[in-house]
């Protein structure tokens, strides 16, 4: 990985943070009203890592993006100039983080590093925005220097960085030294931590991604699960996590005692987990970082019914009005309840004079979204609710093709996982032999949860709606 430079750019109204991959770090200020394409952009801060590209080359970055936008294309996250300089960038709030290179750099690593940079800055400054960058430029330079050398990423663990790069270094009596963890095999945890009460909190969070086509057929249904940990443990504890993992049960010849085993299609682990051990015998063992982190994530396709199902009938009387009937159904067990359900039903941009009728929850027209937002505080399993809506339409139709965004649903179901995953045990072993207390919580929520809208019908068999 050879990255030339990193920039953070900021544009008024459209701000950007940029990081380039080569050998020097650069962050300058980019202050440029987007309306003036050839105006003077300024970089907020930048670091030149390799010195092989003139730092002024960043001036070619914004024009490249704007050219693409002029052609009504969303520019891809990797753009190149004619003379062979490549910019890789991500956006955060109103900032662009741009990496610059003139070699065949590793694009994946560069982009992942940019995200990592964002993450570390957020850990340090809470918010990553123009102001926090200006106020903390000294520390940002230090971080850029420490996180990458000659275009190669080095230490990027914010917890470890915070041990020797601090905002209040002048208060330190003794001079900072590199923590052991910087070069240790355990590069994510410092030694000598002490807690009076040793506790571990586990959150199993499952996000459901769903895509249903207009005919009501499920095209995709997948669960993205994550096990998040908060560790307050002393010393260098060795932790083992046991799940009802089907592959593990099969290889050990054990049958799941209670409940069923879960077959995860793919699992990703935090770098603390010993991957070779997992590859050998499916044991999840690790020395955890201190505090909060995501231990693992997993993915599986499900055959289960979509948790919240929506049927929509749309009847359009062109030139006068459009009517909707939405039926929402909670297709999970009765003993669970979905909270804070929000069903967002898109309507034409030029719709007006909304009227709603529903037996549950609160329906509102959100003109900024061009949608109806139907909020249901608690949605018990097995129940179904109906919303009817009526809008007026202008008699003159615009030529623009109708946007047809899908219905999206937001929800949370506590104490429930769709996959049925369970934490069987969490063993904590430390030399000092203390007892640790694990706490486990489960929650299921929506991910990208979309149901495509059916076409509007002219004469729906919809009951006349009385308003």
């Amino acid at each position: 990985m050879v990255l030339s430079a990193v920039f953070i750019l900021d544009l008024k109204g459209k701000v950007s943070l940029s990081l380039a991959r080569s050998s020097e770090d650069i962050i300058r200020e980019y202050l440029c009203p987007i309306l003036i394409p050839d105006g003077k952009n300024q970089v907020l801060i930048s670091r030149n890592y390799r010195g092989d590209i003139a730092m002024s080359s960043i001036d070619k970055f914004m024009p490249l993006l704007m050219d693409a936008e002029e052609d009504e294309l969303t520019p891809s996250p990797i753009v190149s100039t004619d003379d062979g300089i490549t910019f890789l960038y991500i956006r955060h709030n109103n900032l662009y983080l741009v990496a610059m290179t003139k070699k065949n750099s590793n694009a994946a690593t560069t982009l992942v590093f940019l995200y990592k940079l964002c993450e570390v800055f957020k850990e340090y400054f809470k918010e990553l925005e123009e102001e926090s960058i200006r106020d903390n430029f000294v520390i940002i330079y230090e971080l850029l220097d420490e996180m990458m050398d000659f275009g190669y990423p080095q230490t990027t663990e914010s917890k470890i960085l915070q041990e020797y790069i601090t905002q209040e270094s002048y208060k330190l009596e003794s001079q900072a030294r590199p923590p052991m963890a910087v070069t240790n095999a355990v590069s994510w945890r410092s030694e000598g931590l002490k807690y009076r009460k040793n506790e571990v909190f586990l959150d199993v969070v499952e996000s459901v991604n769903l895509l249903v086509n207009a005919n009501g057929n499920v095209l995709r249904s997948e669960i993205l699960g994550a096990i998040k940990m908060k560790c307050y443990l002393s010393g260098m504890p060795d932790v083992r996590l046991g799940l009802n993992d089907k592959v593990l049960f099969e290889t050990t010849g054990r049958t799941a005692s209670k409940g069923k085993a879960v077959e995860m299609e793919d699992i990703k682990f935090h770098q603390c987990v010993r991957l070779s051990r997992f590859e050998n015998d499916r044991t999840i063992s690790f020395i955890p970082p201190d505090g909060e982190f995501e231990l693992m994530s997993y993915r599986l396709n499900t055959q289960v019914k979509p948790l919240i199902w929506c049927e929509a009938v749309v009847e359009s009387h062109s030139g006068s009005r459009i009517e909707y009937m939405i039926k929402a159904k909670a297709q999970f067990k009765r003993r669970s309840t979905a909270n804070n359900v929000e069903i967002i039903i898109p309507v034409p941009e030029d719709a007006d004079s909304p009227k709603f009728k529903t037996n549950t929850g609160l329906a509102q027209y959100a003109p900024e979204l061009n949608a109806i937002v139907w909020k249901i505080k608690t949605f018990p399993g097995g129940k179904d609710f109906v919303l009817r809506a009526h809008f007026g339409l202008p008699s003159v139709k615009t030529d623009d093709p109708d946007k047809r965004p899908p219905i999206s649903v937001k929800f949370e179901i506590p104490y429930f996982t769709t996959s049925g995953i369970q934490v069987r045990y969490l063993k904590v072993v430390d030399k000092s032999g203390y007892q640790a207390f694990p706490w486990v919580r489960y929650i299921t929520q929506n991910g990208d949860y979309f149901l495509r809208m059916p076409d509007a019908v002219k004469n729906a068999k919809m009951d006349r709606i009385a308003f």
Binding site: T109, Y141, Y170, A214, L275
Partner: protein, 788 residues
Amino acid sequence: MFAASDKKGEAFELRADLNSEYKEKRKETVKKVIANMTIGKDVSGLFADVVKNMQTEDIELKKLVYLYLINYAKTQPELVILAVNTFLKDTDDLNPLIRALAIRTLGCLRVEKVVDYLMEPLKKSLKDDDPYVRKTSALCVAKIFDLNPAICIDNGLIAILQDMLSDRNPMVIANAVSALSEIHAQSPKDQIFIITPTSLTKLLAALNECTEWGQICILESLSGYKPQLGSREAAEIVERVIARLQHANPSVVLSAVKVLMIYLSHVDAELSKQVIRKMAPPLVTLLSSEPEIQYVALRNINLILHRHPQILAQEIRVFFTKYNDPLYVKLEKLECIIKLSSTDNIDQVLLELREYASEVDVEFVRRSVRAIGRCAVKLDMASERCVNVLLDLIKTKVSYVLQEAVVVIKDVFRKYPRKYEGVIPALCENLEALDEPDAKAALVWIIGEYAERIENAEELVEYFVEGFKDESAKVQLQLLTATVKLFLKKPGSAQELVQKILQLATQGCENPDIRDRAYIYWRLLSSNPQAAKAVVLAEKPPIESDNSTVSETLLDELIYHIGSLASVYYKPAALLGVRGDRVDLRMAVAEDDDPNKIDVQQVVASVGGNIENLLDLDFGGPVAVPVSVGASGGGQRASNVDDLLGMMDLGGASSSFGVASSPAAAVIETPKVKLLQPENANGLELSGSFAKRNGQLSLDLVFVNTTSIAMTDFAIQFNVNSFGITPSGPLQVPVVNGGQVVNHSLPLNRTGAPTTQQPPSNVVQIALKNSNGVYYFQISVTDERVLE
């Protein structure tokens, strides 16, 4: 200069404060200077005053001064020398953080003069007790090598770096690997970084222990290792690397995928199957990462599907786009959907594509419509279903949907001649709605091609001929050909029309292509209508599926670059980056005035200019000449017309060379030129020239292996060129042993299809493959007598 600006007062003040007797004041002032530097003001005028503050116990202040130095060292090389003493002292500091900081900064100064002073401290810090200092020093060697390679070699720094591969600290190993890989890439012939079975064990052990970034470096280096044949080595590496697929960092996953893809050919079928199975879920999971990373992943998945389409055969649904995906992600998913479409899933795919065709984003809609056509061309069994969906879309009357549909239906006609004539009326109905040249040209082509089946073909053609002058060249050319086709098919009714258009085109048209084509038609029609029929109405070769956007040769190379920019752009790595940059670097390394410098640079530059042609290179099979409607019409004609009108050679091939006539000498040899330099071609030096002996055209090549390792698996491929030169058979060079020189004469013939590229060029682009890689070069035909 800061001091000279109108802010003289401020500069003066800063200078005074930098020399203040109070520590805190000085520090605050340095901060102010850096703040000025950050917003792009030139504060280099304060160099001497800032550097005075370098000698301090305060790490933060020290870092600020160092930062300042990095920024301005290049502009003030003389003054940097003043700072060197403090640097040297810092490399001896008790605190490893300061030792490392000094070494890291010294490497970044990029001032030639400082390098000499740096040697001793660097040698010492490479062997420092603290791993933090060692890992920093390892990268410093790469920095210095970039500046002055000779001094690194003379001082034995490279040797120390090589020893560091057995360091006890995994991070040090990882940085040593990074530094060595970079140095190796700059001068491959020195064999600076060759993994041996011993170092392999160490690297694999470090892979388990170092940070995610270190893992990426080590995986990168593994991809360049060639496991010993017949040993368990490849299988062991695969087993170690496969565990990395579970890493949370997408870039680690992609690097592991790369290594696995490369090693697939080295392991037995059983393991290879298992690896492919295990790779699928992590590839799918990459689609849950951030959109920018997804984009890189999707570009690479596309490549992987090229090689192993079965890997995600069951997973086509994961590529169905989400409403909120950015356009660049949607377009890449579309490519994957086309790749994975099959007769089993085509119904579902069509439903999905039909849905996309009604979305808002015009570009996405167009590509989706095009995708339906591409599926039709790809899947014979499903073509009818695809055509029906296209017809459906035509009925929507949405202008850009309609036009895109017309363009792809033309391709469907090319693939399945006379099969879907039924849709022609529907197309012709929309004649007036078309306003894009591509769509018009496509429809005109269809009318000409099917003139005998379309009752009112004359009317339709006439409609277009009316506005002939205002059409773009593309439409004009098609219209010309279509009218002639119409005339040949229905001589009675179209005579007036053809005369009209020939007149229009020959007299009122500025564009020489159109005028010349009109003249040729005219003469053909008047001198020999039968020949005209044979030429214009000739059977066209059917088109192939357009799915092979990347040739096998390029794919071979790109697999080695998974995750990198090359794999995102689908370009050979040598063509990426600043033009001639790689060459420049190497020349800087060599330092002497190499007479071949310019040659090499030209090769890279000119190859860069012709990337598209280059991509057609294919070692695997016959060269697939892309056939579009326009080109094929022209190509066909070119070969037939040649005889009739010797002077008008549309192929553009021999016009400039074929005229000279001299008695054919028995032996014509041209002076050999250097084609490949060892430093660019992993140690292979190649020179060659065209020659003719007893009427046989050949390419004389001299292979010099400058390494100590045998090179095998030679193969050669010619790009389509103006002369139609292709090799008569495969390259018969089995092995070139280390240090060996091999002379070989490659017999050539001129039976290949010449390019219609204008202007004709006397350059032949060639790709050479051997066990170490693929290289591109070009050679000019300097003596046209060899071609006679």
